[in-house]
């Protein structure tokens, strides 16, 4: 401990703003990513609250339909590309080198660049709110021709911003792959990798495969808008459905990009607090890989109502249902890990347990949506909204929260306040369910998504959902306070941090020194 802090003394971080601007240190960059994503989480969250406030009662009260559409669009884009994805990259930056016994990421300068592109991309995207004609208002899925021929002029800025986010993601993914494949400590064989590292490795390949597809589809839009092509314009011989095929070829793997690292985090946390090794490690790895592979052949289940031929409809239904198998394996493995363990319920574990239950509920509604004939009824209703918020909020976001609480003592050397953590958990848990559970009902009862006003029979559940949304939203401030409190004056943490922790990251002192594993550790 003393020797490492003495050695860091001479190679510590620069002082002031330049530390953050010029840094190539994986811990600094991880921190930047995490703060950035939290800022975006609150920004996108405010938009969600505005949407929910308008939907509190029937009739138009607060905002007009066009602005409502801008809010749903920006909320989706910001949460997907600004909150969830950068949070996972931030966790990867912090943890992957420490978990595989590497001194830093493989490509530290590119690492700096992949982060610093993001603030510019999102400033540009948010600036469209102040442009004439308003921000993009065609939904985060930006279906053509609503997003081309009929789009506001700001769509061009949106396209540029998406390109920048894509470049950032691709560079981040390359870096993660290079680190995992090349910088593992001696003895760290692939099948000894912590599951968080495995899931991220697979995620990174997904990113490299599909971000260029997203870049392609927005470029085709750009050509249609400014250069007279007709990729998606039926009047010019183009095909609006082509847009959806290309978009969802990116979009479906993208969904797994947002959930596989969450699987990894939860697979780290549950064994620690159950004090028992993860059940079925190899099958977890294979299940993750199968989910990733299947994600490439299910995209058209987002398009069951566009008029696909019968054979395509059946194929995509079968392939989609198949995903339930490896996903089920993962859930069963987590439960088997808890079974006959010796469990304690610190905040990270609470979030991880809630993840398992609520993500599974999201998985159930996903299975229902896979049944193509039934999907004709569910498609584009609040049932879908409930489904994907269940897998993304108490799914991805809860896993990120769990990871943050779990590793926070390692990052800053102090424990967070456990009571406050538990209060945050219970408020979030109750809030999330009050918000999203009633959406199943209004969806089944027939309320379409993306409408600023609704018929009277949907009123009661909408009011309930809005109350839950405000509860969930404001309880995130507890998290913010707890993190700041922890950094400033939390109780000193030990190297192991948690009683049942295993892995290289826990052999480092807390806080982890600025440069760790300058000499590779030996892995037995």
């Amino acid at each position: 401990m003393t020797s490492s802090s003495a050695s860091t003394h001479h190679h510590g971080p620069a002082v002031g703003l330049s530390r953050w601007l010029y840094t190539t240190n994986h811990k600094d960059i991880g921190t930047l990513y995490l703060w950035f994503s939290f800022a975006m989480f609150l920004t996108g969250g405010c938009m969600a609250l505005l949407i929910r406030a308008e939907l509190f009662q029937p009739g138009l009260q607060l905002i007009q339909p066009d602005f409502f559409n801008q809010m749903t669009t920006m909320h989706g884009l910001i949460m997907v590309f600004g909150a969830v994805m950068p949070a996972f990259v931030g966790l990867a930056n912090w943890m992957i080198p420490m978990m595989v016994g590497a001194p830093d990421m493989a490509l530290p300068r590119m690492n700096n660049w992949s982060f610093w592109i993001l603030p510019f991309a999102f400033s540009m995207m948010l600036s469209t709110l102040f442009m004439e004609g308003g921000a993009p208002n065609f939904g985060w899925t930006f279906y053509a021709p609503l997003s081309t021929t009929y789009a506001p002029p700001s769509v061009t800025f949106f396209i540029f911003a998406v390109h920048m986010m894509g470049i950032s993601s691709i560079m981040g993914a390359i870096n993660i792959i290079a680190t995992i494949l090349n910088l593992r400590a001696p003895g760290m064989s692939m099948m000894k990798l912590p599951l968080f590292v495995w899931t991220w490795l697979i995620t990174a390949f997904l990113l490299i495969a599909v971000m260029p597809v997203l870049a392609g589809v927005v470029t085709m839009m750009l050509m249609d808008i400014h250069f007279g092509t007709s990729f998606f314009n039926a009047a010019g011989g183009g095909d609006p459905v082509l847009f959806q095929h290309v978009f969802w070829f990116f979009g479906h793997p993208e969904v797994y990009i947002m959930i596989l690292p969450a699987f990894g985090i939860v697979s780290e946390i549950i064994p620690t607090f159950a004090r028992k090794r993860l059940f079925g490690y190899p099958s977890m790895v294979y299940a993750t890989a199968s989910i990733a592979l299947l994600s490439f052949i299910v995209w058209a289940h987002h398009m069951f109502t566009v008029g696909l031929p019968l054979v395509a409809e059946v194929f995509f239904m079968f392939a989609t249902m198949l995903i339930a198998v490896p996903t089920g394996v993962k859930v069963f493995n987590w439960v088997a890990t808890m079974f006959r363990g010796s469990m304690t319920f610190e905040t990270p574990m609470l979030f991880a347990l809630a993840f398992v239950v609520l993500f599974t509920i999201g998985g159930f509604s996903g299975l229902m949506l896979a049944i193509a004939p039934a999907d004709f009824q569910y498609h584009d209703t609040y049932f879908v909204v409930a489904h994907f918020h269940y897998v993304l909020v108490p799914g991805a976001v809860f896993a990120i929260m769990a990871g943050a609480y779990y590793w926070l003592p390692k990052w800053c050397g102090n424990y967070y306040n456990e009571t406050m953590g538990k209060v945050h958990f219970w408020c979030s848990f109750v809030g999330v369910n009050i918000t999203f559970f009633p959406m199943h009902f209004i969806g089944l009862a027939g309320m379409p998504r993306r409408i600023p006003d609704y018929a009277l029979q949907f009123a009661d559940f909408n009011a309930v959902a809005t109350v839950g949304a405000f509860m969930f939203g404001f309880s995130q401030l507890i998290f913010l306070y707890n993190v700041i409190h922890c950094i400033r004056k939390g109780r000193q943490a030990s190297s192991e941090v948690w009683e049942g922790s295993h892995g290289l990251e826990w052999t480092l002192p807390s806080p982890a020194p600025y440069h760790s594993f300058s000499e590779a550790p030996k892995v037995k």
Partner: protein, 369 residues
């Protein structure tokens, strides 16, 4: 964990369907297909419930009994090939059991042959057009809920946002085939009780069909985001007995003939202005706004606009034929000659646009030929 379950239970109980109008579950609908879909929905739902109870049950058991505070010691097992294979194979078999009936229903739904009546459904921003292909009947159907209700200055009525001026009318017990397409962006035609939801896509014709077995009024909405007024383009279908349907057809044809005659009589400015305001509020207000001020950057103003104050023929051309590449549609087919003449006259003489021009229905009727 117990608190959680309790909380959810409370939510479920308090949300029980005691109120008159609203439901928590999918509708069973009024067609064979919709009932089959309802059954599929319930089967998959109960499968999920059973799996959920098992998985969450084991988890809850562990959380309660295998906790450190109870003195539980962790066991050391961490793999079992048999268990792993079992929980891979069993779900797979359940899924096949589910996929077979789903595919059977799908095959029935895709049987678009031998329809008794063909109706072309075209999505417009933000209304529906229904063309009865064999009958020469063609009309538009748009929201009839008054703006005052939406803006909360008037009390909302029962069918708030689910009512239209001209509902689609079909006969009971006949196979009605819908041919769906769109004029501008993608829309989606959805009536939950028919279990028909099909995208209306510009440049494509999609097919869907129903045989409804109960007369009644069935309501639905556009299900694909199609711009600003996406939440305000409902669908209302009146299902009538065959005799009532026939007499409705005759009435519509008669009314059409009357309207064509109206174009030939002479109109004065006051009458045209009165009618024009009505038409404007129905067809133009959503974009160009109540005072003709438009929405900067999105929809141009008509007040003091060069088109409304300039050459009459240019103005007529824009309204009749639209502006390709923009949200401005062609209204030639959507409105009658009288309505078109009235609304153009109105736009040239309202909100301080004082051109004094009168566009006559006869003039428009000539252009419409």
């Amino acid at each position: 964990m117990k608190r959680v379950i309790f909380g959810l239970a409370v939510l479920l109980v308090t949300a029980s369907p005691s109120h008159a109008d609203w439901t928590m579950n999918l509708t069973r609908g009024v067609t064979d297909i919709s009932r089959e879909i309802y059954d599929l929905h319930m089967v998959i739902f109960w499968i999920c419930v059973v799996i959920g109870v098992l998985v969450f049950g084991v988890m809850l058991w562990s959380v309660v009994y295998h906790r450190k505070s109870r003195g539980a010691k962790a066991k050391n097992f961490h793999e079992s090939l048999l268990v792993e294979i079992t929980w891979t194979i069993v779900p797979f078999i359940i899924l096949i059991g589910m996929a077979v009936p789903a595919t059977a229903t799908l095959i029935k739904m895709y049987d678009n042959t031998e329809a008794d009546i063909d109706i072309q459904v075209t999505g417009y921003q933000w209304k529906w057009r229904y063309q009865y292909l064999a009958e020469n009947v063609d009309f538009f159907s748009s929201l009839s809920t008054p703006r005052e209700q939406i803006n909360n200055t008037q009390e909302k009525t029962t069918d708030y946002l689910l009512e239209v001026d001209n509902p689609l009318v079909i006969p009971v017990g006949k196979k009605v085939r819908f041919l769906l397409t769109a004029n501008d962006v993608i829309h989606s035609w959805w009536v939950p009780e028919f279990a028909v939801k099909k995208d209306a896509i510009p440049g494509f014709i999609n097919e869907a069909w129903v045989i409804v077995d109960k007369p009644g009024v069935y309501r639905g909405q556009c299900a694909e985001l199609c711009g600003k007024e996406h939440g305000f383009m409902p669908i209302v279908v009146e299902v009538k007995t065959v005799a009532e349907y026939e007499s409705w057809l005759a009435e519509v044809k008669q009314a059409d003939a009357k309207q064509q005659q109206a174009a030939m009589k002479s109109w004065n400015l006051a009458d045209l202005m009165a009618m024009g305001e009505e038409v404007y509020n129905k067809a133009c207000l959503a974009c160009h706004q109540a005072e003709g001020e438009g929405i900067p950057g999105a929809f141009p103003a008509l007040k003091n606009s060069p088109v409304a104050l300039g050459e009459v023929s240019v103005h007529i051309d824009v309204v009749l034929n639209g502006k390709p590449g923009t949200a401005m549609q062609a209204y030639k087919e959507q409105l009658s000659a009288v309505e078109l003449a009235a609304v153009i006259t109105y736009e040239r003489n309202a909100w301080g646009n004082k051109t004094g021009d009168i566009v006559t229905p006869a003039q428009i009727a000539e252009l419409k030929e």
